[in-house]
Every structure is written in structure tokens, then in C-alpha cells.
């Protein structure tokens, strides 16, 4: 089974925001909720400017999962960290714990009903039936269930952002580094995945009806 990961190659990102737009459009994420964002450092400094596209990295030892007081998080058998909005109480602990600023807390709109947390799902939906309307309304499209990779990485015009099986995307990145002889630093990779073995799946919490 593949272990899904994101890599963003800072040597290639051109800050076009195509990933952000792809995400917004794919999941109809309301204004003010940013599942993915492009961050630029050293803006305007010639030769030093770098951009990176950031979203939930689906960490191996996910801090959000560790701090959630109601255990709304779960992990799919492909290593994707998801959560159940019916259980989330919108406390915001995950937002403090996350090193990537992934959890979003909108004040209104379809995703933000009663202030529930929203974040990148690696285009893998949520606990509802795959491809159902309920799933779309709460979590957006489930592309993985359709055999597709995340829309952001698929849309990336320079292929700076790669999303897919961790081994495959790491191989692509490695061969790039070899070829260009620089830019070997994978931003966020250590924080998200460290040297940890691939995590075991954790089933979605049971629904209390």
C-alpha cells in the first residue's frame, strides 16, 4: 500500500498560486478558508527569493491527532490524515499543534458550519461514503477514490508540488537534485515524516447517532 506524501520543490515553485486555485475550485472551498497556501520568503531579494506551497502534510506522527480532545482524526491505509467534522468541536487545539498552519477555522459557510475545522484531505474526502454528496459538502471531492492524485499537484505547472506515493515522489525529487546539483533541502519533510516508519492506519471514529 502506498504511503501518500507531499513534496514541494522550492527550486521550482514560481508562486503562481495554481495549486491554491486548483484546490479552491476542486472542493469549492469558501472565501477565507485556505487549505493550501503559497508562502514566499526573501520577497524581492534577487537570488534569495524562494516560494513554497504549504498544506496539511499528513504527518507520520500527526500532532493534530495527538492533541485532539475528541479524537476526531483518523488515518487511512494510505497514510492520509483525515477528520470527522461531525465529531470536531472546533476547539482549535489542532491549529496550535500543527507546524504547518494547516487547520482552518472559518466563521461561516458550508465548511465552517459551527466553526468546525477544515483542512487539506489529500483529496481523499472524509468518513462519509466515497463520492457521496454528504462527503463533498463537508470535505470536498474524493479524488483518491476515483484513482486520481491531489488536484493541486496535478495542476502544478512546474511540477514543483508533487503529491503521491512517498517513495515515488521522493525518487523524482532525488533525481532532480542529482541533475541540478543543488536544492536538496526538502522543506517540511523532516518535520512531517522524520525518520519514522510508515504509520499504521487508524480507523475513523464510530458515529454516535
Amino acid at each position: 500500500m502506498a504511503r501518500m506524501k507531499f513534496i514541494c520543490d522550492a527550486e521550482r515553485c514560481i508562486e503562481c498560486n495554481g495549486c491554491v486555485t486548483a484546490c479552491k475550485n476542486e472542493h469549492e472551498v469558501p472565501w477565507g478558508v485556505n487549505r493550501r497556501r503559497v508562502v514566499t520568503v526573501n520577497d524581492g531579494l534577487v537570488g534569495q527569493e524562494k516560494s513554497i506551497s504549504v498544506a496539511c502534510m499528513h504527518c507520520s506522527d500527526a500532532p493534530c491527532m495527538a492533541v485532539c480532545p475528541v479524537d476526531c482524526f483518523y488515518r487511512t491505509d494510505e497514510g492520509v490524515v483525515l477528520h470527522d467534522k461531525d465529531i470536531c468541536i472546533g476547539c482549535g487545539y489542532c491549529s496550535y499543534a500543527c507546524p504547518f498552519g494547516a487547520p482552518q477555522f472559518p466563521s461561516n459557510g458550508a465548511f465552517g458550519l459551527r466553526g468546525k475545522m477544515d483542512k487539506c484531505t489529500f483529496c481523499a474526502g472524509g468518513p462519509e461514503e466515497n463520492g457521496s454528496k454528504a462527503e463533498f459538502d463537508k470535505y470536498g471531492r474524493n479524488r483518491l477514490a476515483e484513482g486520481k492524485l491531489p488536484a493541486c499537484a496535478e495542476m502544478c505547472s512546474t511540477k514543483a508540488l508533487l503529491g503521491g506515493d512517498g517513495d515515488t515522489v521522493a525518487d523524482i525529487f532525488r533525481s532532480r537534485v542529482l541533475r541540478r546539483g543543488k536544492g536538496s533541502e526538502v522543506w517540511g519533510w523532516g518535520t512531517a515524516y522524520g525518520n519514522l516508519p510508515n504509520p499504521k492506519p487508524i480507523p475513523a471514529p464510530e458515529k454516535k447517532s
Binding site: V20, D43, G44, L45
Partner: protein, 614 residues
């Protein structure tokens, strides 16, 4: 800059090579395609110009009588005279009649998918809007045009009889047709949805306009009509491309039939992503064999579609045979100048050519002289008699040149770096009309003023001298430039109406260097007033950044909907205003035009920036 870059690439030997060349980045979808079919006021489609012969060629292609077309013009002189450029429409309306090179001033404007805020001199433009008799806006969005025309400016006279029409146009997703990218390759675009609301396709609008004006039969003489929206008739997009194919010999827009392009679209996977070439394979639907084709048949794709020219992925590449996408420099400037041959030197030719030295462009006479006339079929001979490679509607001259003899129909000559018919035969630095460096103006002055240039009086030296004399650079010490953002396109009316994009850039801003900002007490994110010598005062957010130097500021041009500090939302038709509105930088830009193309000066003017009063 553009010409200097091309000359540099030529000198470096980087032209005519894979990975080389001077491919320019264009700003919008299908700009190349639009240019190719002739919206410019100095040419018929495919760069044929406006000469009598060009008109006769296209009349034959369109299937209309040349004399009938001529009758539609006030005179043959007007028919063959370059028109005013879109960059000067404001002056075509406002300028004193005796100073312009046509009988009447412009009184009606049709804005067809065009954004006024992408054009300079906004203050003057508003005056022109208010003087028009007729304004038509054809656009998916009512656009800044409608709002600019509707807004009231204190103390400005409005033509009480002005009529304004807004015609909703369909987007590219609501119709089909070919589009051309800047590598000159064509793609076929399929319709995704039916035209929404009251919108109609551009070609339906054009056909219906021709109906009202009484020449619809001539407009579509050789086109197939099909049912479009609501059962109304419109020209079929396939047959429009076929008409382009039948006439555009000069640039090799002739081989890209809808059938071939659609086969390419269905079989993208058969094309190599690096060379763009099809290694082999047949289209399952039509049986068309794509072997050897370059994706999208980049022009020139000479000859008829049946000739199966593969398209030209790199211009002037003489390492390949002409039937393999190869070529050489064009014999376009005569054969000799000042006693020196302009044709290619001995041994310089495309791979496998029968003629191994320079040669002029081909016509029926040259073909006969070379003894190649009988390579034409009888049917081809009939159409090729008296014609050249650009006007032979049989495509026979092109076929015989390329397929039989491996030579280029447009001749084989040297590239030209010295353009003797331009004001500056070799690109020369000249200071802009509005600048901050009088010392440089003394060293690199601009051109003399021109009369009747694209029908307009065009000022250079008198403006520059006056600006230096008045020491404008003291009042406006910062160079102001403008340009694009990735989030928005063109005037931005469509993209600023898209919530996903609008969220990313919610307000217009001026990039200002920390030194310039600090000296003026301006902090990042504050409102500032940018003023220019036209008297314009626009209100934008300050973005304090090292992106610009201390003497320069930058403002993106995609915004509209604010007018000198005021939101114009009430001037838009109800519910039609874009989500994000902002000050248009071109409200503040100044006079200045390119001495060849009449392109407006959007990149250099001068301004002052001050903190906005709270």
C-alpha cells in the same frame, strides 16, 4: 528590447535551433491566433497587408466580388490605407479633425472583448467615452467599458445622444474552434456547455450584425451555417477554419484542417513531449495517420492538408528538410541592397534542397524558368498561372517547391538585423517622454514629432522637451511602471469576478522600495495617493518591498472599478460588478507611443507617491 534580443540571438547563432529562438510570452489565451487572422488596422488576415492584390486574393478566398467589397469603402485610398490603432482611439475621437488623416473623427466604438483599463491615458479616455455617438460592448462581462461610460465626472460634458449597447457574449467554454499558442501550434477546443443566459457566440453576433447591415450573404458566402443557440443560425466553426486554411498561404496556416487538429487532440499521447513529434499511430475515428506530424501543426504548415506537411516546430531550422519541418530565412526584403546580395550564401540551405544557394521567393515565372512548371498537375496549373506562392489557391507552387524539390516557397535569404525602413534601423536607446533624468534626455533624445502616423499626429520631441523644461521630474521623482500579476488576466473583469482568483488579490497596490516609503512616512499596507503629470490621483495600498528599486514603483494593471479614490460600483449594471474592484493604473498613465507600431507606453512614466489623507 524585442528587436535587440532577436539580433543578439541571431549573432549568437541561437536562431533556427531546437531550444533557441526568440519565443515571446504573450498575455492571453489565443492572442497569437487573433493576431494571425488580422485584427490589426494595417493588414488583411495572415499578414497579407492592404494592397489591391491582397484584397483580390482574399475576395477570391471569401467568394465575394472584389468590386462589391470596394464599393463598401468611401474610396480605394481608404480601403488600402492603414487605419488608426486601438491605442489611439481616444485621439481618433477627440483630436481636431484637420489634424487627423481621415475625413471624419471616430464616432462609434465597438469593444469586443477588450478592456479599456489596459490602455493608457484614462482621463482622456473618459472624455472620449463621453463624446461618442455609439458605444457597443460585446463581452461575457459588461466590463469596465460599460462602467467607465456610465460614471459621471463632475464638470465633464456628456453627449446627450450617445447610445450604449451591451451584448452578452459567450465564453470560450461555450463554443468550439481552433486556438493558436505562441509556438504557433493550433489546438481544437470543444464546447463544454451551451451558452449561458442570454449570451451568444462571437460568430453568431457577427453574423447577426451582418444581417442587420445587409451583407450576411457575403459574410458567409463560403461558410456552412448551422443551428446555434435557440435554433438561431451561425457559421460553423470548422468551416471558418477551413476558410482560413484556403487563404493563409503566406504563413502556412493552410495545412491545419479541423480533421487533422481533432485527430491530434484525440491522440495527444502519441506525441513526444520534448520534440512534439508523433512517432507513429493512426486516429481511431478517422483513420488519419499522424506519423511525423508535430503536435498542433505549428505554422508554417504549408500546402493543402493533403500534402501532409508536418508543421514547423522551430522556425528557420536548416538542419531539416522542408517537408520535415525544416526551413531557412525568408527572402522578404528584396534580393539586393547597395550592391550586396540579400540572398543566402552558397551552401546555406535547408537539408536536401535542390538549390544549394540563396534564391528568391517563388512565383509562376521562377517555376517556369527552372523547368519545374510541369511538375504541377493540370488542375494546379490552371490556378497557379500568374500567381505566386502566397496567392496560388491550388497550393501547387508550394507542393512542387517543397515536396518535389525540397526548397522553401518563400525563398532562401539572409536574416536582417538592420531594418532600413524603421526610424532606427538598428535599435537605439531613447529616453522616454516622461522620465526623471534630464541628463539622459540630452544624451538620448526621442524622435521628432510625426504627422499622419497611423492617421494620427504623434508627439515625441515636443512633449519630452516640455517635460524637461517644466522640470516635471522634481514634482514626480519616481519612475512608474506597470505590468501583470499571475492571478488576473488583461483588464481583469472576468478574473476579478472569479471568487477563487479574486480572493488572492483583493486590492490594488503600488510596490514601493523601503527607502522611498520611509522617506515619505509610508508604511506597508497603508493607502497612498499616486499622482502623475496628467493630474490623475489614484488611491492604492502601499506594498513596501525590495522588488523595486528606490527610484521606481510598480502597479499592476488588472484593476478597474475605482476612479481616483471612488468605488464606481453604482456605474455597473446591477449585479454585474466584479467581486474585486480597484484603481486602474492606466487612469494615471501618460502620453507616448512606439515609433513603429504605435504601441502605447505602459511601462514608463513618472509619479509621486504620498500618504493618503485619512
Amino acid at each position: 528590447m524585442v528587436r535587440a534580443s532577436c539580433i543578439l540571438q541571431l549573432a549568437l547563432g541561437n536562431v533556427g535551433k531546437s531550444g533557441g529562438g526568440t519565443n515571446i510570452f504573450r498575455g492571453h489565451d489565443n492572442v497569437q491566433g487573433a493576431t494571425d487572422v488580422g485584427p490589426n488596422p494595417d493588414s488583411l488576415p495572415a499578414y497579407y497587408g492592404l494592397a489591391t492584390g491582397s484584397w483580390k486574393h482574399w475576395c477570391a478566398v471569401w467568394g465575394v466580388d472584389y468590386e462589391w467589397v470596394k464599393k463598401q469603402y468611401a474610396s480605394q485610398e481608404m480601403m488600402e490605407k492603414s487605419g488608426a490603432t486601438v491605442s489611439r482611439w481616444v485621439d481618433a475621437v477627440l483630436e481636431k479633425n484637420e489634424l487627423i488623416d481621415q475625413d471624419n473623427n471616430v464616432k462609434a466604438m465597438v469593444f469586443w472583448g477588450h478592456a479599456p483599463n489596459s490602455q493608457t491615458r484614462g482621463l482622456d479616455m473618459k472624455k472620449a467615452f463621453d463624446k461618442l455617438d455609439l458605444l457597443v460592448v460585446i463581452d461575457p462581462y459588461p466590463s469596465a467599458t460599460a462602467a467607465m461610460a456610465a460614471m459621471k465626472v463632475d464638470g465633464q460634458e456628456l453627449n446627450p445622444n450617445r447610445a450604449v449597447y451591451l451584448l452578452p457574449a459567450a465564453t470560450q467554454f461555450e463554443t468550439s474552434g481552433s486556438v493558436t499558442a505562441s509556438n504557433r501550434s493550433l489546438q481544437w477546443r470543444e464546447k463544454v456547455i451551451e451558452p449561458l443566459f442570454e449570451s451568444r457566440t462571437d460568430h453568431m453576433i457577427m453574423y447577426q450584425l451582418a444581417e442587420k447591415l445587409g451583407f450576411q450573404k457575403e459574410l458567409v458566402a463560403r461558410l456552412k451555417l448551422v443551428k446555434g443557440k435557440g435554433g438561431m443560425m451561425e457559421p460553423e466553426t470548422e468551416s471558418m477554419l477551413e476558410e482560413i486554411n484556403r487563404g493563409s498561404w503566406a504563413i502556412g496556416y493552410t495545412g491545419q484542417s479541423p480533421t487533422r487538429l481533432k485527430a491530434h487532440m484525440r491522440n495527444m499521447h502519441l506525441f513526444d513531449v520534448k520534440t512534439l513529434r508523433c512517432k507513429g499511430g493512426k486516429d481511431a475515428v478517422t483513420g488519419y495517420d499522424m506519423t511525423g506530424d508535430y503536435f498542433g501543426l505549428p505554422w508554417p504548415c504549408f500546402g493543402t492538408p493533403e500534402l501532409k506537411h508536418p508543421g514547423t516546430p522551430n522556425l528557420y531550422d536548416n538542419s531539416k528538410h522542408v517537408m520535415d519541418g525544416g526551413g531557412n530565412f525568408r527572402a522578404n526584403f528584396g534580393v539586393e541592397r547597395d550592391g550586396v546580395s540579400l540572398l543566402a550564401a552558397d551552401g546555406s540551405h535547408s537539408l536536401g534542397a535542390d538549390i544549394t544557394t540563396g534564391y528568391p521567393e517563388f512565383d509562376h515565372i521562377l517555376l517556369k524558368k527552372l523547368g519545374w512548371w510541369d511538375d504541377l498537375t493540370d488542375a494546379e496549373k490552371k490556378l497557379a498561372e500568374g500567381k505566386n506562392w502566397k496567392t496560388d489557391l491550388s497550393g501547387g507552387i508550394q507542393r512542387v517547391c517543397m515536396k518535389v524539390h525540397g526548397v522553401h516557397p518563400f525563398g532562401n535569404a539572409k536574416a536582417r538585423a538592420v531594418v532600413w525602413n524603421f526610424p532606427d534601423p538598428i535599435p537605439l536607446h531613447r529616453e522616454p517622454l516622461y522620465g526623471t533624468r534630464p541628463d539622459l534626455v540630452a544624451k538620448y533624445p526621442t524622435h521628432d514629432d510625426k504627422k499622419g502616423f497611423w492617421r494620427m499626429p504623434t508627439l515625441y520631441k515636443s512633449v519630452q522637451d516640455k517635460n524637461v523644461e517644466q522640470k516635471l521630474y522634481e514634482k514626480f521623482p519616481i519612475i512608474l511602471t506597470s505590468g501583470r500579476l499571475v492571478e488576473y488576466e488583461g483588464g481583469g473583469e472576468e478574473t476579478r469576478s472569479n471568487p477563487w482568483l479574486a480572493e488572492l488579490q483583493q486590492e490594488n497596490f503600488v510596490e514601493i522600495n523601503p527607502k522611498a516609503a520611509n522617506d515619505r512616512g509610508i508604511r506597508n499596507g497603508e493607502y497612498v495617493i499616486v499622482s502623475t503629470p496628467t493630474g490623475a490621483r489614484i488611491k492604492v495600498r502601499a506594498m513596501v518591498t525590495m522588488r523595486v528599486a528606490a527610484d521606481t514603483a510598480f502597479i499592476p494593471f488588472h484593476f478597474s472599478g475605482w476612479w481616483q479614490g471612488k468605488d464606481m460600483i453604482d456605474s455597473y449594471p446591477e449585479g454585474a460588478a466584479p467581486i474585486v474592484r480597484g484603481e486602474a493604473v492606466n487612469t494615471a498613465t501618460t502620453y507616448g507611443y512606439d515609433s513603429v507600431t504605435m504601441m502605447q507606453e505602459t511601462k514608463t512614466t513618472i509619479c509621486n507617491i504620498e500618504k493618503a489623507a485619512a
